[in-house]
Amino acid sequence: MYQFARFAVIRAALAVLTLVLVSFIVFSLMELVPGDCAERYIAFKASQGSVISAADVDAERVRLGLNQPYVQRWGIWIVNAFQGEFGDSCIQRLNISQLLGQKFWISLGLAMSALLLAYVIAIPVGIIAATSKNATLNNSLRLVSYLGLALPNFLLALMIMLFSTVVFGDSLTGLFSKEFRDAAWSWAKLRDFLGHAWLPVFILAWSATAFAIQTVRALMSDEVGKLYVTAAAARGVSGRQLLWRYPARHALGPIINSLGFDLNRIFNELPIVALILTLTEAGSLLIEALARSNDQQMAGAIIFMLTASIVGLNFVTDIILALTDPRVRRSILG
């Protein structure tokens, strides 16, 4: 027990270290973009018609602390970042945490739901596909799965919107109905949210499921052919006991391992889907921040939070793996 706690602490420390490293890279990238926050804001002001001098820019730099050395600024940024404090947005001059707060959790919720949905479907389907000898079933599963892989999410989103607009007269966009958008959370608002959220979750899960089915099927096919399965059959183990206790049980480890990777993929697809479904509450902020307004502070904060989610999930899967696989467990406990 003590050793397991030690393992968890070490893994947690490693996760934090990863985050610190990532934050350094993110911060450096923010720094590499030509110009800084002061110039950007001043340029924005100038475009609004104000007359700005070079002295104003310098004053703004001092105000934002941009005249301090690079490493020191990174240090301050990272310490704040771990407390969920990312300073003000370059352009909007509003506190980023307040701007992002709820939106981030909604995005994470959408991505995690899509991940969950993908695996709830993929694990049984993948196992059946790997073990069934029914050629028709296998081929149709393969076809659906290739469709899922080949059909881009945004196209699927557009098709569903088009269909829904024509048939129901509702384009199914957004995450909240008008009346709830600025309302405080309530059961009615939650119901309204769930009524909207299923579509982005479905679209995000679409390709994730196809991908996960391929993963599960490949891993299962691998395990099914192994000698220990034949040996178990030779001992009289049969039917479901043979399937679940042997190959399925042993394919689980790599499947758990692939979760972090899949969350990453889903996050990557979220902004595009969010853009099309006009989910202002979700990932489209990132595109907004990066591409349109060049808002470094904002982009940095978003990337940091995304990375933190993925590192966090990987930490959880590491722990689950250690709990389920004796080989991993023994290698930790020594």
């Binding site: 000898k133 192994k226 000698l227 220990y228 034949t230 040996a231 178990a232 059959a233 030779a234 001992r235 009289g236 183990v237 049969s238 039917g239 043979l242 206790r245 042997y246 049980r249 042993h250 480890g253 389920t324 696989d325 004796p326 080989r327 023994r330």
Partner: protein, 336 residues
């Protein structure tokens, strides 16, 4: 002695993308209780497939011929193995009356399930023990095969044991249900020579103690000479020679068996060059017509070898070989 197993006309084909290939061709043999039979041949000769047929353990693309008949004689009466339909019916021969141990002890234990759990599982399937009793019996068996500190080993996983220890555990598991027939598929090939000897001794002791039959599959004639009472030599899915082990090894009749024995290194005279059998075993997709060995045989007697499948000819009462050397009177009849 009492008859334990009869295999008659075992013919087995696999459907593959390249077509239907014949893995085992008209193989017949029988085994007495308490007898150790060696099944010898190169890789690809069909010896493992033959062994797996006894438990109907071959892949689902396997087709047995209609005249294939495998009968296991138990105290409660004979079991016609080919007629067993589903996996529930087959439990009698899978881990019950027949147990099998494999070449790779590491790979034949499930890596994430403890050795004890796998042993208990088998006992729960085949006996009416409760899990407490099954655990006791398992630990007893581990102890019996010479594993020290058996109750600790019981909780461990295959990767935590040494190679020899794993194979002992495998033997303990295979014997825990007191099978009548043990199939050992190259059980010592993956082990060091010293460990090999220990494992073979252990198996010989256990045969005597449990009074069961063993089919010992190997490509190593040395191991067979030490272990087996009788031997069947297989080549490309056919038994080409069989008989009591001493007779077959001292006076091999089939040119293939002669070649196998000549290919063994001579430890008394290390300067003698090795004499491998020339050529490779042909692909099962291109089985030679006539005698399957005719493409590599140094003693071909004529066209008959590549056109007619040789029948068995008796060398002595129990020693027989399928070779035209002994079926063609014009070539001198019995070559011995």
């Amino acid at each position: 002695m009492t008859r334990l197993l009869d295999v008659e006309n075992l013919t087995l084909q696999f459907d593959t993308d390249e077509g239907r290939i014949t893995a085992v061709d008209n193989v017949s043999f029988s085994l007495e209780a308490g007898e150790v039979m060696g099944l010898v041949g190169e890789s690809g000769s069909g010896k493992s497939v033959t062994a797996k047929s006894l438990m109907k353990l071959n892949a689902s693309n396997a087709h047995y011929s209609d005249d294939t008949k495998i009968t296991l004689h138990l105290e409660d009466g004979p079991i016609d193995i080919m007629s067993l339909k589903n996996s529930k019916e087959m439990q009698v021969v899978r881990g019950g009356a027949i147990s099998m141990i494999f070449q790779e002890p590491m790979a034949s234990f499930a890596p994430a399930i403890s050795i004890g759990d796998q042993m208990v599982e088998q006992l729960l399937i085949h006996t009416d023990m409760n899990s407490k009793k099954a655990k006791e019996v398992s630990i007893e068996m581990l102890d019996r095969v010479g594993i020290s500190d058996a109750s600790t080993r019981f909780k461990q996983f295959a990767f935590e044991l040494s190679g020899g220890m794993r194979q002992r555990a495998m033997i303990a598991m295979a014997l825990s249900t007191k099978p009548k027939l043990l199939i050992a598929d190259e059980p010592t090939t993956a082990l060091d020579v010293t460990i090999q000897a220990q494992v073979i001794d252990l198996m010989k002791d256990l045969v005597t103690e449990f009074g069961m039959g063993i089919i010992f599959i190997t490509h190593d004639l040395g191991v067979i000479a030490q272990t087996a009472d009788s031997v069947a030599v297989m080549y490309l899915g056919r038994v080409i020679e069989q008989g009591p082990v001493r007779e077959v090894i001292r006076t091999p009749a089939h040119p293939y068996t002669q070649g196998l024995l000549a290919a063994l290194p001579d430890l008394d005279n290390l300067d003698t060059p090795l004499k491998p059998i020339p050529g490779d075993i042909p692909s099962p997709l291109e089985r030679p017509p006539g005698c399957v060995f005719n493409t590599r045989c140094p003693k071909v007697v004529g066209d008959v070898c590549s056109t007619v499948v040789p029948d068995f000819a008796n060398m002595t009462e129990h020693h027989k070989a399928a070779c035209h050397l002994y079926t063609q009177p014009q070539n001198g009849g019995s070559a011995k």
